[in-house]
Assembly symmetry: C2
Homo-oligomer: 410 residues x 2
């Protein structure tokens, strides 16, 4: 029943170094899948700070509610994640289930339940039996190890066709600080959501408010800048844990010059994970970068880029290797943002196809058709009104998406 | 190259009575299609008033710009519509083309160019050669007739698989007043846009400001309440012409009690045309009604209903005959409108599947699966916060949509 691996999967995975202060184990709890791991238990040493960004959905999962409540403390000692069941729209059963899940993880790790962060991904509306965790967490706690990270990434997959990892290393005071992350995206079989989960771990010593201040803007350029199908999950979760075990002085202010260096490296890791999610978008055969510049503001540029990246007519055209820039015009026009038809400029790759409100005089169908055969397509749009710019990443819309999501749920 | 007729096409078409003061003809101008009509020329008697609603796109077609400019006068004597080319994003060529098109139609009908309304639908970005009209308008003017309406509806089709007509008759002062309309929706071959055009004709005598005042709210419950794929066209146009040839006293105020009667009949015609467009949505196999009640306002209910109706995950589930209410929860959650997960109620048809934030205790998968096999599906959602309600109509998202829109443009 496994899907074929996405044609956009990376050719190889990076070696992920150990993150001091982080150990984990995976197990088969049999929540939904058979013959694969579906639980990840991660232990973080004392002193670990945490920051997070959670779904804006008005119908969040029980696990998201739990995280939101316990992120405020800024510290964490454990992370329990399962695939196969999202524990979303499960009412009071969901509330009881997350409390019990945190208790089992806390008991196994010898910490308090409120020090446990939780995430669940899979079917919506099915109660999640927390007792499944009781059967495995104690045993998992006995074999925690600092790797291999690909195992952690595999345990949280749903209809993902490949595991998603990224890493960066920065030197502070002659000491290497590691930032490693895992993520999961969209998938199949009993597909219910394109649910995004990402967990990043670093041994840098960073105060929780600083970590949060660095994380939030980075999300805007990474996970919030990708779209597979415009459907926002009930369970989207990105958590960053900082163990502080690297032998460097603590970063306690965003004004510490190292904060900017760390933020850049964290941004790179998040950006790479976000692109891996698009590369594994359901049914994807092309990675599409939508660049908008010249809008009235960055926010306006972002909304226009989203309108293009979410347009089913643009996405099906790309699947058909059709440089259908008329549909790009349509998507700019419907975005609801300031735009002047007669100033628009549109390029596919380096080939300008439209300028000043009409087809480019040098338009060469042959050249642009040939460009559209690439695996990676860049659409760039100049609005001609100001200095606002934004980039959004998406994939094409193919028969694969319909097949994956039109199959019967049970 | 013709698409198979939509399985949701009506079994038969109503007889459309003559609308006094309206005559028309269709012709093959060879704009893009071969062996079919692609031009409609309509003549309206002196004294005809006009009202219209046009696309909100920031990149409207040249014809839309023309209509917007000339609707202000409130009168019209002719309508020229072509299929095969949208005359959108054609720059100064487009401006020249609409002026010339209006001139040819005006010359043929013996009226002024500013008394001609224009609409074009088809490929975006291709210059439209107005001389094509010069070759046919004179000849068409010689054979104007009050019917048959199906011919008019056929001439404006692009990838529509059936012509769309609707009619209503109301009696004022013992005299029948006719309201007849045609529309076109989405289509194929070199598909560029799901472009919506609709033209309604009545012999009622109605002052232009009254006609506009009655039309605008009716659009909200008809054309603006349907969505095939969330992509707003550069060319959406709905025009209503009132010839005043019915032998009744003029309606010169919205406070005239007959205005409400007329508005209701006009609303019925527009609603029926809008539903015909959904029934011919690209690749559609099911007509879906999304009813939302209990929202904080009607506007909020409408935005939630749109979020559900535009969700590709909801639409693919319906194509797969899967009562995947978890995806409905997701779509409510992402709408950005006030909602409380723990008050949500969701039904498919008469079957309540979720209540108070979780699966209905009496949930019966068998019953709901059987319901999902119907051609027409109603999803109703109770938000539980207020009295706002709205209904939006859509179709499912199938392999047909991908095939129609992923084919190469040229």
């Amino acid at each position: 029943m496994a899907l074929p691996v996405s044609p956009l999967a990376p050719a190889s995975y990076p070696e992920l170094p150990e993150v001091r202060g982080v150990r984990f184990a995976t197990a088969e709890a049999g929540i939904k899948y058979r013959n694969r791991t579906d639980v990840l238990l991660t232990a973080m040493d004392e002193g670990t700070t945490v920051a997070g960004v959670l779904t804006t959905s008005k119908c969040p999962s029980a696990a998201v509610d739990w995280c939101r409540q316990h992120l405020a403390a800024g510290t964490a000692r454990g992370l329990l994640v399962n695939s196969g069941n999202a524990n979303a729209f499960t009412g009071s059963k969901g509330v009881a289930s997350v409390a019990l899940s945190a208790q089992f993880a806390a008991d196994a790790l010898g910490v308090k339940p409120e020090e446990i962060q939780l995430a669940s991904t899979g079917v919506i509306g099915e109660p999640l039996d927390a007792n499944k965790f009781a059967e495995v967490t104690g045993e998992m706690a006995g074999r925690l190890a600092p790797g291999p990270w690909l195992d952690a990434a595999r345990a949280i997959m749903t209809t993902d066709t490949f595991p998603k990892v990224a890493t960066a290393t920065v030197a502070f005071d002659g000491e290497d600080v590691v930032i490693s992350g895992i993520a999961k995206g969209s998938g199949m079989i009993a597909p219910d959501m394109a649910t995004m989960l990402s967990f990043v771990f670093t041994d840098a010593p960073i105060a929780a408010p600083v970590l949060q201040a660095l994380l939030t803007p980075a999300i805007g350029k990474s996970f919030n800048a990708v779209t597979v199908d415009s459907d926002t999950s009930t369970s989207d979760t990105c958590l960053v844990f900082a163990t502080g075990k690297a032998n460097v002085a603590p970063i306690e202010s965003v004004d510490d010059p190292r904060a900017a260096t760390f933020a850049a490296a964290l941004g790179d890791v998040l950006h790479e994970l976000a692109l891996l999610i698009v590369r594994d978008g359901e049914g994807a055969t092309k990675l599409v970068t939508v660049e908008v510049e010249g809008a009235e503001s960055d926010h306006s540029a972002f909304r226009i880029a989203q309108s293009i990246a979410n347009s089913p007519l643009v996405k099906t055209a790309i699947a058909g290797e059709d440089a259908n820039w008329g549909r790009v015009v349509m998507a700019v026009g419907k975005a609801g943002e300031p735009a002047d038809r007669d100033r628009l400029r549109i390029s596919f790759g380096d080939i300008q196809v439209a300028t000043a409100g009409e087809r480019d005089p040098s338009y060469d169908e042959q050249a642009v058709s040939s460009y559209m055969k690439n695996d990676e397509i860049t659409i760039s749009v100049g609005i001609g009104l100001g200095n606002g710019s934004a980039t959004v990443y998406t994939c094409d819309l193919t028969h694969g998406y319909i097949s994956i999501n039109g199959d019967y749920r049970s």
